[in-house]
């Protein structure tokens, strides 16, 4: 454990000498990410992602009364309407904790899919719906016997859920774009589930959207809002100064507006990003949007918003998300809150809004009448701010970019990736397209960048970010050090494809033999330079060298690319440097005609499947 001030210089020297970053910080910060309020308004249930617990706070006593241990890295919290039960989605345990609100004890641990991010129960308490981020589906769990009865196909990175006030529908958003054609605008959806049939009834398309977070409905059920990003990834990032990297917006749907419409949250010269949680006041007078990187909550006057939309022609509605002047029509206030605001919840009377500040480890208390922060509830966080924690704040902050446009977490959503391909450099449209890569386990995998020109993360995150991304004076040396320390400390999420005992399945074992083979099936030796396990070697499955594997495109400056690490590679479709391979299969079925990216053309289809089953375990 190193503190930010005292050990900074020593830390720099130590890291420089050892070439190591801190991997598992011993200090655990609560990192409140979601919050729920009991029906009587007395209790706050605060989900702490960093300490794997629900902290229960009594607003009358102004004190914490209980900390309930749940599964690993909990992400989602739901309180039933009667206030009797809580459901917590444990993203790294692939489970849901059911908590009895009277005894404040976990009563059951329920099954879920891969990386559950949110859970909610239907009105009757018959079925639990769980949004699974990795398996991109919604588990339907029978609450009578605790059995997962089926999964419904949702959007990629299924993440957040909302129940309609009448209980008839569950709305599910997803944080990664739907699979689509290479170099086309991203598409997302709101998956609408019929709770009577437990089936998907509708998919509301969200054109040009990728990175859709919380979704909510008004108390009358007529207005739905979803927080979303509109990335402009098809044009060079050089245009950041023109305001065309991200549109921070809301998807507006429901009977109040008819056809869904997307509206901007940004202003012409200021951005509020990324929108995460959205809550509509019980009286429907205002909607509140937490913007994590901007450390603020945006307040929208609902009546003015609906009036603006109603007055727009169909063409104007389609273009509204790109009209940054539109927000002046309905944004009523911007309320500064703590570091990294995430989940929010109203008191039952709607007079108070509680906002979790994830990297600030506290709760901002907003008086909705005055739209001012009137207090804060501090969680029991360590006093010292480690380098890593400081870096985490920086990672999620957008204050360094020109006009506060975006931060690291805009592309590395929730410190992962975004499933998008970007035109990063000002070298002309459509040149040097690069796929976004996962940051976990990245510490010892230099050089960085697909062309390998950045020898270390300090270069990658410092001068490069300033020049190409932020278009402003960026991090100080101290801040850069902290940011890199955080990136190096990111833990690697569990791999779901390995057997609990570490053994491989028969298919995985066959795949490993293919991965490690040195001869073709006809006995011909495979040159070392073309063996899977040579280039993808070492603990991170990269030799950290550059190679031309025949995947370069005419629009690439060079056909030579950094050999990517393969840890958790199954999560990060699409593949190759430019994301042109939609799936692992396409790396070989489409983009390896000359056997330059490993020898694969002598493999039968079932052998290729075995190889992929093995890659999933890495």
């Amino acid at each position: 454990m190193r503190t930010r001030r005292a050990g900074h210089i020593a830390g720099v020297l130590l890291l420089a000498l050892a070439g190591l970053g801190a991997r598992t910080p011993a200090v655990r910060y609560p990192s409140p990410i979601e919050i729920a309020v009991s029906p009587d308004g007395v209790r706050l249930y605060i989900l702490c992602e960093g300490t794997d617990e629900v902290a229960v706070y009594d607003t009358r006593a102004a004190a914490f009364v209980k900390r309930i241990a749940v599964g690993r890295v909990p992400k989602g919290l739901w309180l039933t309407a009667d206030g009797k039960r809580l459901y917590v989605a444990n993203s790294w345990s692939d489970s849901v904790s059911e908590i009895d609100a009277a005894s404040l004890a976990v009563t059951r641990t329920l099954p879920a899919g891969e990386e559950p991010n949110a859970a909610l129960a239907d009105r009757a308490g018959r079925f639990l719906y769980v949004a699974n981020r990795i398996s991109s589906d919604v588990s339907v769990v029978d609450l009578a016997d605790g059995r997962e009865v089926k999964r419904l196909a949702a959007g990629r990175g299924a993440a957040y859920l909302a129940l309609s006030p009448d209980g008839a529908r569950v709305y599910c958003t997803h944080i990664y774009p739907l699979p689509g054609r290479h170099r086309t605008p991203p598409e997302s959806e709101i998956t609408v589930i019929d709770t009577a049939r437990q089936e998907v009834a509708e998919r509301k398309p969200l054109h040009n959207a990728a990175g859709v977070f919380h979704v909510t409905l008004s108390s009358d059920g007529r207005l739905g809002l979803a927080a979303q990003l509109r990335p402009k990834n098809l044009i060079p990032l050089a245009h950041v100064e023109h305001g065309w990297v991200f549109g921070n917006s809301l998807a507006v749907f429901g009977a109040d507006v008819g056809e869904p419409v997307q509206i901007p949250l940004d202003e012409l010269d200021r951005y509020y990003t990324p929108p995460f949680a959205v809550a509509i006041a019980p009286d429907k007078s205002a909607a509140y949007v937490s913007t994590t990187g901007s450390d603020s909550v945006t307040v929208i006057d609902v009546e003015r918003l609906l009036r603006t939309i109603a007055a727009a022609s169909p063409e104007e509605r389609r273009a509204m998300a790109n009209d940054l002047s539109a927000s002046a029509n309905y944004v009523a206030a911007r309320i500064p809150v703590g570091h990294g605001p995430k989940g929010m919840a109203f008191s039952p009377d709607g007079r108070t809004l509680y906002v979790t500040n994830r990297t600030g480890d506290d709760i901002s208390v907003i008086d909705t009448a005055t739209r001012k922060v009137t207090g804060a509830i501090a969680l029991d966080a360590p006093r010292e701010l480690t380098f890593e924690r400081s870096g985490e704040r920086l990672f999620f902050s957008a204050r360094f970019a020109f006009q506060g446009h975006f931060g690291c977490a805009n592309c590395h959503l929730e410190a992962t990736f975004d499933g998008l391909q970007w035109d990063l450099e000002p070298d002309g449209f459509g040149k040097d397209i690069v796929d976004n890569r996962l940051l976990e386990d990245v510490a010892d995998t230099g050089p960085f960048k697909w062309n390998g020109t950045n020898p270390n993360l300090e270069t990658e995150c410092g001068p490069r970010t300033e020049k190409y991304f932020y278009r402003s004076q960026s991090y100080s040396p101290e801040e850069l050090f902290d940011l890199v320390a955080f990136i190096k400390s990111m833990p690697l999420r569990p791999n779901r494809h390995r057997l609990p005992d570490g053994e491989l399945t028969a298919a995985q074992e066959r795949g490993r033999a293919i991965f490690e083979r040195t001869r073709k099936k006809d006995g011909t030796p495979i040159p070392e330079s073309n063996q899977c396990a040579v280039c993808h070697s070492g603990p991170h499955y990269t030799d950290q060298k550059l190679a031309d594997v025949g995947t370069g495109k005419p629009t690439d400056r060079s056909p030579v690319f950094d050999t990517p690490q393969l840890t958790n590679v199954v999560l990060t479709a699409p593949y190759l440097h430019d994301g042109s391979a939609h799936t692992l299969e396409e790396i070989w079925t489409v983009f390896n005609p000359q056997d330059r990216h490993g020898v694969t053309n002598d493999l039968q289809k079932d052998e290729l499947n075995d190889l992929i089953e093995y890659l999933k375990t890495l």
Binding site: A153, V200, E586, E613
Partner: protein, 357 residues
């Protein structure tokens, strides 16, 4: 005396009357009233929805209207060959000439031999079995675990499949059957995970040397497993077979009510009753008697033939018939039928009393 004579006449008439076989009023659909193409490979009833897999798109009939899906909507290929619903999720899986598609509440997801572990893009059949989706392809069987994304292929290397052209698949909780075109029938036992093949004892000859001693022919086109009764029905281009796990019974045109030995599909009602799609009409077998529904091959007039257990054939007067005598598939909607033919889709509305619905 007169009374006795009358009773005798009536009894005689009753004996002579054909068996009471299901009767239908047929409503036919073609491109003229919304069907995407008249060549309908398969029809699938999915509650109130009816799916028609046609040569030029997928048709959905709902609330009295047709909706057509093509590759422009995301369908893998315009030639849709088979449709299977997932009763748990409401999704529908579509086998096409260019891959396997999943339709889910307006969204198509497509799996091909290039972007997934699917064995081959020519997918003739598909069946849903819980979390598994089984596909019959031109390069063997493929099974997708929809929870893990794992594909498992079944071919000559890991099953007794000496011919890999799988033509149809039927997946039930305990058993999975593949009709292998030219390779008989393959059975997968879910519990033991073992494969077993069933073949024609007289080989690939087009004559039946050993009737009822095994599968009637190697060129199988369809399998239908009546799981509750443990009965397997098989359609081939040279007759049909029924297997009870111990004994085979074969049905041929010459000694059954089948209008033809050329069968495109068999669909079991249960272990006793089944519907047969042939090139010369739709046939129904109730365990004793047969009925054939078709436009007469010569006059094209509506025709219903009933063959009793003794082999007596009676022509029943009807006013309508399926759209065409070349029948490719059938599915049930309560007592009603939907029939895929080479020239249109037919809805057979069951007549329970003369002249009424």
């Amino acid at each position: 005396m007169k009374t006795i004579a009358l009773l005798t006449v009536l009894a005689g008439a009753a004996l002579a009357a054909p068996p009471d076989m299901p009767r239908f009023r047929w409503e036919n659909f073609t491109t003229a009233n919304g069907l995407p193409d008249n060549h309908v490979f398969n029809v699938c009833v999915d509650g109130a929805r009816v799916w028609a897999a046609t040569e030029n798109g997928l048709g959905l009939y709902q609330n009295g209207k047709w909706r057509v899906f093509t590759p422009a909507d995301g369908l893998a290929h315009r030639a849709a060959l088979f449709v299977a619903p997932d009763p748990r999720t409401g999704d529908v899986w579509i086998a096409t000439m260019g891959g396997l598609s999943r339709y889910s509440a307006g969204r198509f997801d497509t799996f091909t031999q290039l972007n997934s572990g699917l064995a081959n893009d020519v997918v003739y059949g598909v069946a849903v079995q819980g979390d598994y989706v089984w596909a019959a392809t031109a390069a063997g069987g493929s099974r997708l675990n929809t929870r893990t994304g794992e594909w498992t292929l079944f071919n000559e290397r890991n099953t007794p499949m000496y011919e890999i052209w799988t033509y149809a698949v039927d997946a039930k909780p305990t058993k999975v059957y593949y009709a292998v075109w030219g390779g008989g029938v393959l059975e997968y036992d879910v519990k033991t995970r073992q494969w077993k093949d069933y073949n024609d004892p007289d080989g690939e000859t087009e004559i039946v040397l050993y009737k009822d001693q095994g599968l009637v022919h190697e060129i199988t086109t369809s399998v239908s497993y009546a799981e509750r009764d443990g009965i397997l029905w098989v359609a081939t281009y040279f007759g049909a077979s029924r297997y009870d796990g111990r004994n085979w019974h074969n049905f041929l045109e010459k000694d059954s009510g089948l209008p033809s030995n050329f069968l495109n599909q068999v669909k079991a009602v249960d272990g006793t009753r089944a519907w047969f799609s042939t090139d010369k009409g739709l046939a129904y077998y109730d365990g004793d008697n047969w009925a054939v529904y078709r436009p007469a091959p010569d006059s094209h007039k509506p025709e219903m033939l009933v063959r009793d257990a003794a082999g007596k054939v009676t022509r029943v007067a009807v006013e309508s018939a399926p759209a065409h005598h070349y029948v490719l598939g059938v599915d049930f909607q309560g007592d009603d039928l939907w029939v895929a033919t080479a020239h249109g889709l037919s809805h057979g509305i069951r007549l329970h009393q003369e002249g009424s619905r």
